[in-house]
Symmetry: C2
Subunit: 379 residues, 2 copies
């Protein structure tokens, strides 16, 4: 590793990816400096993190409720945008939930900060604008999600003559559940992911495969891949995260035990791969078999909705993402059933009329409209 200490801002520091990012920071004392932390309502944890890592700026949803006495000396409370754009920050870990990350990500890119992107909704909502902003300022966007990170690792050193990318999906907890029973599955069952430990929103999105649709959209934007070159295959073990087939037919796969700290660390230290004794190692013999099945598209209507919205573009992906965010919230609150998630999202999408070549304002407006429609749908 080179000697430079990388200055980090972590958006969503109290969430699952935020916490695992801090675990990685702890594993490499003196290599990474946590400059700023942004969270939502979990003030207590945010304050403890700020203390431990001597953060200089923090932000949260209700700064008034946050006792300033909890913060380390010199640390002040500000907006997520200012956390991301602090002069000592080199890299922003964007790990907020849902659409909240969009503003700070755009601000970070405008300030020339490298963005490590764990929060996929902003890219789903506004992929074209985000990528244009990154190109405009010559800034790198580094994938953190395990599947795009796998694609990125497979492309390393290659001349980009890609003929196909295969993203794997565990299939979630209901892969083998009789379809007739899906309507009555509970939030507790949906939150029991077979292979990954993750936040609630993404765990439900993994059960519906909406998350996999988002990843296809993410791969489309991050790697400038045409839709027809992106495939999804069910791979229940979540060991191979993605495969890239090159023009000559050779396929590279990236594999690792399902643990988000690896893709987090890869983005934080790229192009270096420092040793981390805390990470599990892959043992092919212990795994025994890696299996692959075709994706049953009828079982996962959210996946089809995501692809359709992604391909249509304009403000449809923003509506998809917003309607899904509300639908998952309502499902977790017991207000709608599991199979009503795609019903709600599909109905909101079919009501929507997009403007062509939308601005960021148009996208945020479509997002707000979709949220109103989604709540109204469930009433």
């Amino acid at each position: 590793m080179d000697g430079k200490v990388r200055g980090l801002a972590i958006l969503g520091s109290t969430g699952s990816i935020g916490g695992q990012t801090l675990e990685v920071v702890r594993s490499f004392p003196g290599k990474l400096s946590v400059v700023g932390l942004a969270a939502g309502h979990n003030h207590e944890l945010l304050a403890r993190q700020a203390q431990e890592f001597k953060a200089r700026v923090v932000s949260c949803h209700s700064p008034g409720e946050m006792g300033a006495s909890w913060l380390p000396p010199g640390c002040h409370v500000t907006t997520p945008e200012e956390v991301a754009c602090h002069p000592d920050v080199n890299l922003v870990m964007a790990a907020s939930v849902g659409s909240a990350g969009l503003g700070p990500i755009m601000a970070a890119l405008g300030h020339g900060k490298t963005v490590a992107l764990a929060n996929k909704e902003p890219l789903v909502m506004a992929g074209e604008l985000i990528m244009a902003e990154a190109r405009r300022w010559g800034v790198d966007i580094l994938p953190v999600d395990s599947e795009p990170s796998a694609i990125w690792q497979c492309l390393r050193g290659e001349e980009r003559d890609v003929s196909r990318v295969v993203i794997t999906a565990s299939g979630g907890p209901f892969r083998q559940r009789p379809r007739g029973e899906l309507a009555s599955v509970t939030p507790e069952e949906a939150l029991r992911h077979p292979t990954w430990r993750m936040g609630k929103k993404i765990t439900v999105d993994s059960a519906t495969l909406m998350n996999k649709g988002f990843e296809v959209i993410e791969a489309h934007w991050l790697f400038d891949l045409p839709w027809e070159k992106i495939e999804v295959v069910i791979h229940p073990q979540s060991v191979i995260h993605a495969m890239v087939e090159f023009a000559d037919g050779s396929v590279k796969a990236q594999m690792s035990p399902p643990d988000m700290r690896l893709p987090i660390q890869y983005a934080l230290f790229y192009p270096q791969r420092p040793r981390n004794g805390a990470l599990p190692r892959l043992d092919p013999v212990e795994i025994g078999a890696l299996t692959f099945e075709a994706l049953e598209v009828d079982r996962y209507p959210c996946f089809g909705l995501a692809l359709e919205a992604g391909k249509k573009g304009m403000t449809y992906p923003a509506v998809l993402s917003a309607a899904d965010e509300v639908a998952v919230e309502l499902f977790l609150a017991g207000a709608i059933g599991f199979t009503e998630i795609p019903d709600l999202v599909g109905d909101v999408l079919s009501e929507h009329h997009s403007v062509s070549t939308p601005s960021l304002e148009d996208i945020l407006e479509a997002d707000a409209w979709a949220r109103r429609m989604a709540y109204a749908w469930a009433r």
Copy 2:
């Protein structure tokens, strides 16, 4: 692809890899020029190849028997060394059987020709000398064997912080055969490889796993890997050819349907990956499952003999390779049984006394000694 036509010399052109190299040349008209061809006793096929590809030099074991009228105008018969070192040759495909390739390979390196290495015995015999010669003249040695090619592809673009390399082995045709029956298996059964179409010598070496031991030695030399970082795992489907684990725990695997034309083409066109419609494509869903099992070392005593000789170094690997070449020949002729292959090789090795830091002459002497001992063993 760049516009340059690469000039090839093919050593072992009438063998399996030689023929498949010519298939690749046919797939890319105007991109590769066959300057020279070297073969053994198959004069007829050699002459047909020389005609088709307008070779300028050829060599064979008994030039006197080769009617000059069969050769294309201007083509002359010479030695394998001169075929390899012809001024118009940029790349030598070394695909002879057994130890025969050693001389021409050393000659090619000394003349600054890139060597694509399909013929692993020379590297087993004289790995240290070959690698030193390549470094001395600043020449690249490119792997063609599917497993080393996979390692090479996985290392592409990486900073070489490798923590482990896993080479896969199909396990050969006798993986599930009761051990008591191994003594009586026939040459015909040993030649029925479950996944690869290859020459006879390497197919028998695959049944004994001597070939896998050779590949460990090959990987040790080609990639400068310490022995303890090289593992072998049984993977009956032969789809993943090798995996590389980096220091951070991330694993890359290279996959493709078992077809030698892919690694051949990769070496011929590196760093480009031109499209070749003739090559099969991988379909993970059609494959269904990739499985892994620990290597039963007791079932494959040749593997242990190879590793031991490789680690001892000096002239032991040359003795290993020569004794095995004779043992396989005797087995195919019905003169010894299948389980006598390791008995013969083990006995010859245990009789051997090496000089330290052997010269090429010492190695060739050890090779000749081992052949005499091996024939005597079977008498």
